[in-house]
Symmetry: C2
Subunit: 301 residues, 2 copies
């Protein structure tokens, strides 16, 4: 039974609800505030922002479902043959959480569905963890959770999508990964080996993996003590996060170039960030250790 775009949309909405509830519960103080917005060309979204919590300093859990004429860069072939433009429908959930305690990692997830009136459709998504300080046990736990979720659906998904994440969440000019990676996949559609229903089930599995995985990392680390030096390092790591999102992130670039809702797109940026000229961490420090882990190809799980 093939899921319709309405069913997928409703499921993404419920995912947003469930994740917001779980995050509020683990935070224990702040609640999400909701902004509903409409897109002139069709559709809109529910932007939910949480701020100044006990654990979360600034975070967003965004749902959107938009539609309209297919942008030129996607429709070119078709427009040339038929003279008329296809329409598209896109829906998804995007999350970025910036915790206040530098011992709690930053997390990001996006799950999305896209279809065009010409019958083409795909799922995409990604989830990656950006610890200010890499803790091997936590990185392994995170990757193991994703691996377990992937393995239920396809024996190759974890290794394929883990590699894709290593390549995608990479700050080329710094020659370092954004964090310890995770999984990333885009334009995945049906094939001989997989139905739409199965792909939707996989995307649901990933979506459902987010809350238990991240709240466990929040819970484990939120009461750890930290110093002013740790906070300064957090600012520098957040600076790198800003660099990735503004220079490389496809969703951000696409949103800014297509006149998307700026405040929703840039909710991914932290409350504050910093840049020190030519900062070099002390030898054998936790900061230096963290940098040594920011590379591709580490097998965490």
């Amino acid at each position: 039974m093939m899921p319709t775009k309405e069913q997928i949309t409703e499921w993404f909405k419920s995912l947003q609800d469930n994740i917001c509830s779980a995050l509020e519960k683990e935070d224990g103080k702040s609640k999400f505030a909701e902004d509903n917005w409409e897109r002139e060309e069709g559709g809109g979204g529910r932007t939910r922002i949480i701020q100044d919590g006990d654990v979360i300093e600034k975070g967003g859990v965004l749902f959107s479902a938009v539609h309209g004429e297919v942008p030129d860069f996607l429709s070119k072939e078709n427009a040339e043959t038929t003279g008329s433009k296809d329409t598209f429908y896109a829906t998804g959930v995007s999350i970025v959480i910036h915790p206040s305690n530098p011992m709690v990692p930053i997390i990001h997830m996006n799950v999305r569905y896209f279809e065009m009136s010409n019958g083409v459709w795909w799922f995409g998504g990604g989830i990656d963890l950006t610890p200010h300080y890499v803790v091997e046990e936590d990185a392994t736990f995170f990757h193991q959770s994703l691996k377990n979720a992937c393995q239920k659906h396809n024996a190759n998904y974890y290794s394929d999508f883990k590699k894709w994440a290593d390549d995608y969440f990479f700050i080329t000019h710094r020659k370092e990964t954004r964090g310890v990676g995770g999984i990333f996949f885009d334009r995945v559609t049906k094939s001989e080996n997989v139905t739409k229903d199965q792909l939707f089930a996989f995307v649901q599995e990933i979506g459902n993996t987010f809350a238990p995985t991240y709240t466990k990392l929040m819970n484990k680390n939120k009461t750890l003590p930290y110093s002013e030096k740790n906070k300064q390092w957090q600012l520098l790591r957040r600076g790198r996060y800003v660099e990735f999102n503004l220079v490389y992130d496809r969703g951000t670039k696409f949103g800014l170039e297509t006149n998307g809702r700026v405040e929703s797109i840039l909710m991914s940026l932290p409350k504050n960030a910093g840049w020190d000229y030519n900062f070099i961490p002390e030898r054998s420090s936790p900061e230096e250790k963290t940098l040594s882990f920011l590379k591709k190809g580490i097998e965490w799980a």
Copy 2:
């Protein structure tokens, strides 16, 4: 008498020296530290950074002179006809100063010279002011200084290059200018009306205008009192500066894409910056007034 690339290079070096001296003197506390670097493909630079001064929190005055094979996007026509690649030589001075007191404006200047072995050459440059709080008297003084410098060379330069700056220093996704603008010009070469010598004299005039103009604004504003609220607003304005530099600035993008020295390129970023979700200033506040001035086409001088 046509200036040679060696003469232009030497002059840019002396400009870096003079500007660093003037800024150190007005700051009164910190001194520039110098990093010399070499470029694998040819040439190098003198990066000078000042930090934690009485007035300047973080700033850079950079000289560079690099050479090598012309990048593909510039050499295409020629390579197709001759089969061999032209070489290029590029030299210039780039400056960004982030003051600690939010009542002192951020400033940026770049002056540059480019030539290719096929005989093509041009000058480029720009200088623009980004006040955290727009003060009309200061914006007018700044533009009047630039206008005076331009008028000595060509009756159209100020109006032409002021408009160019309005268009260039624009944060499209925010629909706001980076600050109160200034002048911007690129790929200006000789014509019926102007010689290379005259263009070099104009670029020198702009370069020499920087120190007296900015140190006057430093001096006028550096002792003004400010509140925590002013500091918070400064963080948000710096966030916009980061957005401009990482998303739009051609020099930054070119540098990052061509494997330039990252720490020199990103010296333009402030020590810290911030983002508040959907921040809206109070009505009739100085912050709202400032936003009202961040648009194109204001005739300050």
